[in-house]
Amino acid sequence: MTAAASTTAEVLSVHDLVRHYSLGGGLPGRPRTRVPAVDGVSFTIPAGTTMALVGESGCGKSTTAKLILQLERPDRGEVRLQGERVDGASRASLNRLRRNVQMVFQDPYASLTPHLRVDAILGEPFKVHRICKAGEIAARVAGLIESVGLSADVGRRFPHELSGGQRQRIGIARALAVEPALVICDEPVSALDVSIRSQIVNLLLDLQASRGLAYLFISHDLGLVEHMSDSVAVMYLGRIVETAPASTFFAGPRHPYSAALLASSPTPDPRQRGRPAALRGEIASLVNLPSGCRFRTRCPLAIARCAESEPVLLPVGRGHLVACHRGEEMAGAAALPARPRSDPTGG
């Protein structure tokens, strides 16, 4: 059994996570520019479930993942693991975090140390966490390799001798070595050939079923998200703008940005095909954010109020939070470039 079966139902929660980067300021007299890469992100992941974090490139999804793993220190906010606060400065707390939360990286070509054999890469977690005796590592590594559907002889190879799919399986195996409760998957299939994506996705689903894993699934592929996740959080320029159970979200998103994302994702059924997203302009710059709502410069529904005050996340339904001044009106609004399916309660 994994650690997921602890008494607390939530495996991970983050509260008001903030990470600002400084740009420039190297020269005297030139002010530093603050870039709010992640700006007040909060969410909770129940044990054994999958939460998807979606949004465009540069919206802070990957930074959020790094903050959770303390690969980067948050400027503010806290990460709680099974209810207990993670302290990035304490060795013990970090070890506890890393034995419970692991990550699968986006690019399997870059995330495996090129000069180490697969055996050495997979043996490392056992070594650094002293999970088992040195003599048992080989057997544990062989078990890991098998559990991700590869034959044991890949252990003697170098990463560059493996295909992209095989490498990503090794990346997954490495994450599983410590038997974590949560695995953060940062776009785990977007660097892979389309033909092997589904194999990796199915592997992730099988592992979740057999080990009770929770996933934080970072993606911009909404089709995949619908297939995999229990809940969805949409990020835009460092903030979560909408979060909801997956079924609710895909039935009727309440934030115009979510609706636009959904409308721009391809649908296999031609009759269900929505119009192309009616998003105007480029994603706003993090260096120079618009006043009020960050999305208003591209929003088809923007009104004067959107420039005046920034909307906060407010509940609009069961487990459904939206940060939009017009979120109430959004429900089932026919004018939106969303899918024809809509939430009947809002009409």
């Binding site: 070890n95 692991q102 140390t113 650094v128």
Partner: protein, 293 residues
């Protein structure tokens, strides 16, 4: 070489790695063969034949090359060939010791300055200060201050060459410490020390090997130059530089005394430079013609 092979991740880099091997192969082969001949000759000839680099025989002085004296004799009647072979010991020993010490110091200090900001600013300023001086002039200053000896020549070479190695190691650490595979290892729970030694440092071995090969060649030249100025290992020890220095007076009457060690220095340094060029092309084909002292 494995580091180059390890880079062959995608077909296009595999192709460029192949190209690099094809380019580097002849250089490595020719340089390696010549260097191996020099080293093997200096090591094994004294075991097979009786060699007497210090045996003075004034009756036989300044004889031109002949069947009896293959490379002639010098002003004291010593065999030039014998001195050349033993001289290789001194020149290569100095260069080897200097290179080894440079490697150890350079990797350790480079790792420190790549890891820690404070260490970086201290070590960095010191290396900058050393790099400001023309290398050979600084070597002369050091030898003038410490006095001529084999050990001091080694020290001078180390002081002059170590900043380059420090920079090379530091640069690869800074390049790779935020790489995905390092982040991934950190996420697994690998500590800073192991991260550095197992994941990051090996990535710098290729460029460092290239630097050290050029450093080796450069050390031979510095030793020869210092000896020529009388700042190297003191006579009668037959280092190549000493032999040239002593042969100055006889360049008109007995040029063979000078030509023999001159040719040896040239082919040894040339072979090392060929090896360095070859390694560099293997390690990073983009750097063609950019490294070296």
């Amino acid at each position: 070489m494995t580091p180059a092979a390890a880079e062959a991740t995608t077909p296009s880099t595999a192709r460029s790695a192949l190209r690099a091997i094809r380019r580097a192969g002849p250089m490595l082969l020719s340089g390696g063969t010549v260097l191996a001949l020099v080293v093997l000759a200096s090591l094994f000839v004294p075991l097979l034949v009786e060699i007497d680099p210090l045996g003075i025989d004034v009756a036989q002085k300044l004889l031109p090359p002949s069947a009896e004296h293959w490379l002639g004799t010098d002003e004291f009647g010593r065999e030039v060939l014998d001195r050349l072979i033993i001289g290789a010991h001194i020149s290569l020993r100095v260069a080897f010791a200097a290179t080894l010490l440079t490697a150890v110091l350079g990797i350790a200090l480079g790792a420190l300055s790549g890891q820690y900001r404070l260490a970086d600013s201290i070590i960095g300023r010191f290396s900058d200060a050393l790099l400001v001086f023309p290398g050979f002039v600084l070597a002369i200053m050091i030898l003038a201050a410490l006095g001529p000896s084999e050990l001091n020549v080694v020290l001078a070479v180390v002081v002059l060459y170590v900043p380059r190695v420090i920079r090379t190691v530091r640069a690869s650490i800074i390049e790779f410490r935020s790489a995905d595979f390092v982040q991934a290892a950190r996420a697994v729970g690998v500590g800073d020390m192991r991260l550095l030694v197992v994941h990051i440092l090996p990535k710098s071995f290729g460029p460092v090997m290239v630097q050290l090969t050029f450093g080796f060649a450069w050390a031979i030249l510095v030793e020869a130059g210092l000896s020529f100025l009388g700042l190297g290992p003191p006579p009668p020890s037959p280092s190549w530089g000493n032999m040239i220095s002593a042969a100055r007076e006889f360049i008109r009457t007995a040029p063979w005394i000078m030509i023999a060690p001159g040719v040896m220095i040239t082919i040894t340094v040339l072979s090392l430079n060929l090896i360095g060029d070859g390694l560099r092309d293997l390690v990073d084909p983009r750097l063609q013609g950019k490294v070296g002292p």
